[in-house]
């Protein structure tokens, strides 16, 4: 690598040319003087001595000049010259430059944008100190029946915290909402219930005040709260004196102990206030897996070891705590701890999809480069004359190659710069499409590393599209012709092969992308075809209302108030049906537990599998459009009298009694001490985990019950009203809903306003995102591929005008001439399609996990893509081929 250093020394010498120059003068003067003195010592006269010294040195000025050559920045000056020349050459061909630069910009821009997403979501470390040591704690269990894993119960957290040998810090958190009634109007805020250990694990220090201490989590401690920066600014105008003051949250006073810094984000959550998780070990039971676990591994502990450690603690935990009254503790025996990197866990749903996208977009970039390479090839051919002249004038081969390379680099940089602008715009679009399906959205940006990638891409693209023509053209050819270039009657086979190869590559990649997006379209169609368990969700308005305990303590009165609200909502015009639920379908709001059957003795029931529980008011099934398959819905008589009744989903009925009707009249209960509850209805399955997963078994309980799992009352204080109306989503409706709610209970806000359609769309957000992105990529690939075929044929037609003229003169019909070129295009396309199909067979397997209701080898898609692309290719070849038929033989032959 000595040439690198040598070039560097040369470049460096630019900055000190003057110093070197003066040094050289001094040095030579010193030399002459020394020689003169020597001559004097030898007995010469002073004049003679000086003259002889000069003679002995040789021409002072000549050697000075030679020496200067050694430190002058020759290479750099030449490069600047190349650069200027390159820019001028590109400006002389504006159409070529614009097309090439825009094509490159599309490829580079799309790749940059997707890389920015991949980097922000998957690669970039989480914004916490030493974030590699952060892990999430979850548990899978056979009794979950393949459903998503669960987090921790508080008792499990306490056991882990006491017994573990793997964690520096461990903590739990959960989402919540509460009503702040301090100051002017009551408002519901998103809260984060978090243990002190979770904040310690993240290593977060508050901007002001203090973080939570373990003491804040004690059941008898003063209630405390930490404000997020945004909420502090919005609600309290950044008033510093708020620290130490009480604010009323959930109608109870809480002391503000700290303010978080603006940069602080708790994973992907967007809470406004943090409240400590309060733990009273005396009241804990085994169950209640409502918390997410987070931990920081102690130095040197691997996730594997931590996992083994937790598996060791699980049996200790089962023996340490009481079960729910009437729930067998063995129910908790089949749990397996899952310790995952927090970063991976956050992106677990989209990791695979994003990599598929990245690969897809990289293919688009290659196609774009192939297109530009084609353009450059064509242009190089047109410039043969110019290059030949320059060769004749003494430009070396290396010099010309460097010249072309610099020109391509300029083009590449131009494309890269434009691409960066495109990427910046594209990122906004991506973020808005990705809203709700992408984690860590706020961390997606054009960061330095993304810029570096853009630069690298531009350079690689320039080498790729510039290198092929240079290598293929074989600069040796340049010196051969100073004849009029057009005389090179037929283009050389070598060059045609290069162009044909590029077209084949483009078509092949386009096939892969089209097959990929075709599979995605099939998936989307298949997903939309699954009846989600409710009908016309866009016309179901949802709004949540919370009645805190501090406001109304009595459960029966809460139930009456909810009934009252429902009656008032029903009077809103054009509302055909109203009801409410404790947890919205498909919105990931559920709880679950096992159930016991009256017709099977307890000891024969090995560990009752966990079932989803949902609490609904009468009329809920009718409102959202869930069919009652057998029996009946709840009635207000059931609710008001706390009758022991229950409704179950169809798949649960089939599982336990084979037939929905056979389930009617059977009795089940949720705890061994609860009264038996009669199954009065069976309803259609609701795809609660998203339509791509099997519909879970669901047990529907009435919204109000006298006893539930050993607790005296069961009432959902936070319920979501559902209104079926054609006016869903309109402002007018919302105003009326607000009025109706506050007329029932003054000052009660409504929150989480959305339609069931929004919830449904959100459950498919990741698939929609992948679909949109793949279709965009495939469309780009298709367009670029068509342009490639068109360009290749069009160019062949112009190149072979003379041949066409001769053929026409010899009697070939227009039709025959046309067919000749169309055949050329179609053959190229067919080769490309064949290669592409092989590639698609291999590559679509990677996207199997994104697919639903279709296999990666879906025949329809493959056939449609092949036939479609072949037809389009024929068309793309036909248009320029018509021009061949229009060639006038007389004119062409005379023109030469």
């Amino acid at each position: 690598m000595s040439w690198i250093r040598e070039s560097w020394n040369r470049i460096r010498s630019v900055t000190r040319v003057d110093a070197l120059e003066r040094g050289l003068d001094d040095e030579i003067r010193f030399h002459i003087e020394q020689q003169t003195q020597k001559n004097l010592r030898a007995g010469m006269t002073p004049d003679d001595a000086r003259r002889q010294a000069y003679v002995k040195f040789g021409g002072v000025e000549r050697f000075k000049e030679n020496t200067r050559d050694e430190f002058r920045p020759v290479l750099l000056q030449d490069s600047l010259l190349d650069l200027r020349y390159g820019i001028r050459a590109l400006r002389r061909a504006p159409l070529f430059t614009v097309i090439a630069a825009v094509t490159l910009a599309l490829g580079i821009g799309a790749t940059t944008a997707v890389f920015a997403v991949v980097y922000g979501v998957l690669i970039k470390p989480l914004p916490y100190h030493d974030s590699d040591a952060l892990v999430s704690l979850k548990h899978s269990a056979k009794s979950l029946g393949g459903g998503p894993p669960v987090g921790l119960s508080l008792s499990l957290f306490v056991s882990y915290a006491r017994e573990n040998r793997s964690f520096e810090h461990v903590g739990v958190w959960s989402r919540g909402t509460d009503i702040v009634t301090d100051g002017i109007a009551a408002e519901e805020v998103a809260t984060l219930n978090v243990s002190a250990g979770a904040l310690r694990a993240l290593g977060i220090q508050p901007a002001m005040g203090r973080t939570f201490l373990d003491a804040d989590g004690a059941s008898n401690a003063t209630e405390t709260v930490i404000l997020m920066d945004g909420y502090w600014a919005r609600r309290f105008g950044r008033d510093r004196s708020i620290i130490g003051r009480d604010i009323s949250i959930g109608a109870r006073p809480r002391v503000v102990v700290g303010i978080m810094p603006p940069s602080f984000r708790f994973l992907d959550e967007t809470p406004e206030v943090l409240v400590p998780v309060r733990i009273d070990p005396a009241t804990l039971t085994l169950g209640g897996f409502n918390f997410e676990g987070i931990a920081r591994l102690a130095g040197g502990v691997t996730m594997q070891r931590a996992s083994t450690d937790l598996a060791r603690i699980l049996p200790i935990w089962i023996q340490s705590w009481p079960s729910y009254p009437g729930v067998d503790r063995n129910e908790f025996g089949d749990m397996t701890p899952l310790v995952k990197s927090l970063k991976q866990d956050l992106a677990s749903n989209v990791g695979n999809m994003l990599w598929v996208l990245m690969g897809t977009i990289a293919m688009v970039l290659v196609i774009a480069c192939a297109n530009v390479a084609n353009l450059v090839l064509v242009r190089a051919q047109d410039r043969q004359h110019e290059l030949a002249i320059r060769t004749a004038l003494g430009a070396g081969r290396g010099r010309l190659a460097r010249q072309l390379l610099v020109e391509n680099l300029v083009l590449g940089m131009l494309g890269g710069a434009l691409g960066l602008l495109l990427a910046a715009a594209g990122l906004r679009v991506l973020s808005s499409i990705g809203e709700g399906s992408l984690p860590r959205l706020q961390e997606i940006a054009i960061s330095p590393i993304v810029l570096e990638l853009t630069l690298a891409l531009s350079l690689c693209a320039a080498l790729l599209f510039g290198g092929i023509p240079i290598a293929k053209l074989g600069l040796k050819h340049f010196d051969m012709t100073l004849r009029p270039a057009a005389r090179g009657a037929t283009s050389s086979r070598e060059r045609n092969r290069a162009r044909n190869f590029l077209v084949v590559v483009q078509v092949a990649l386009a096939v892969v992308l089209l097959v990929g997006s075709g599979l995605m379209v099939r998936t989307f169609v298949a997903l939309r075809a699954v009846p989600p368990g409710f009908t016309d969700p866009a016309h179901v308005q949802l709004a949540r209302v919370n009645i805190p305990e501090a406001q109304i303590a009595d459960a029966a009165r809460v139930s009456q108030l909810q009934h009252d609200m429902l009656d008032r909502l029903a009077t809103i015009p054009e509302v055909t049906s109203v009801s409410f639920t404790g947890n919205v379908p498909m919105a990931n709001e559920r709880s679950r537990a096992g159930i016991y059957r009256e017709d099977v003795p307890l000891n024969n029931q090995s560990e009752p599998p966990l079932r989803w529980f949902r609490f609904v008011a009468p009329g809920f099934f009718h409102t959202i459009g869930t069919r009652v398959v057998a029996g009946r819905d709840f009635t207000w008589v059931d609710v008001d009298n706390s009758r022991p009744v229950v409704v179950i989903s169809q798949n649960l009925a089939r599982e336990l009694w084979r037939e929905p009707t056979a389930a009617l009249g059977r009795r089940i209960r949720e705890g061994t001490e609860s009264p038996w509850r009669e199954i009065v209805g069976v309803v259609a399955d609701v795809y609660d985990d998203g339509v791509h997963r099997p519909a879970p078994a669901i047990v529907y309980w009435p919204s109000f019950m006298q006893t539930f799992v050993g607790q005296p009352f069961n009432i959902k204080r936070s319920v979501t009203f559902a209104l079926r109306t054609s006016r869903a989503g309109s402002e007018g409706l919302l105003t009326q809903v607000r009025d109706a709610i506050s007329s029932a209970q003054a000052g009660t806000p409504i929150t989480r306003v959305r339609t069931l359609g929004d919830v449904y769309a959100h459950s498919m957000a990741a698939t929609s995102f992948a679909l949109v992105m793949l279709v965009i990529a495939a469309a780009m690939a298709l367009i670029l591929g068509i342009v490639g075929i068109y360009g290749a044929i069009a160019y062949a037609v112009t190149q072979r005008r003379r041949e066409i003229g001769i053929r026409a003169a010899l009697g070939a019909s227009r039709h025959e001439l046309q067919a000749m070129f169309v055949r050329h295009g179609v053959i190229l396309a067919l080769i490309g399609i064949a290669c592409g199909l092989a590639g698609a067979l291999a590559l679509t397997r990677l996207m199997a996990s994104l697919l639903f209701g279709t296999s990666p080898l879906d025949l329809t898609v493959y056939v449609l893509v092949s036939v479609g692309l072949a037809s389009v290719a024929a068309l793309a070849a036909y248009v320029p081929a018509r021009r061949a038929a229009l060639v006038d033989p007389v004119l062409t032959l005379r023109g030469d």
Partner: protein
């Protein structure tokens, strides 16, 4: 921008300069003196040719320079070998010896032994 140089000559100058600096750092005039002295005045290189060679060697990091004061209090630029320069000298010497031995062998061939029997 192409510079006319005889490869043989240039290679030789490089080697002579490096050799002259092997013992101790020296200024340009001193180097010419040393070479002439050691070659018993046979090698009279045009003193000017030395300077392009010195600047090239410095750029190649084979030698380094430093302004110092001579015994009679004159400012002069002293050149000295770098580690790389030392290695380069070894390489060039070995090469030269091989080449000159080969040339000598050719020249020593007598008419009798040259003719195949």
């Amino acid at each position: 921008m192409t510079k006319e140089r005889s490869d043989l000559l240039q290679g030789t100058v490089t080697m002579l300069v490096l050799k002259a600096l092997q013992v101790e750092p020296m200024h340009g005039w001193g180097i010419t003196e040393r070479i002439e002295h050691w070659s018993e005045e046979v090698l009279q290189l045009g003193q000017g040719t030395l300077y392009p060679a010195l600047y090239r060697l410095e750029r190649q990091d084979l030698i380094q320079s430093e302004w110092r004061v001579t015994e009679n209090s004159r400012r002069a630029k002293y050149y000295s070998l770098t580690t790389q320069g030392r290695q380069q000298l070894e390489k060039e010497l070995a090469q030269w010896r091989r080449a000159s031995r080969a040339v000598n062998q050719v020249l020593d061939v007598t008419l009798a032994s040259a003719r195949p029997a």
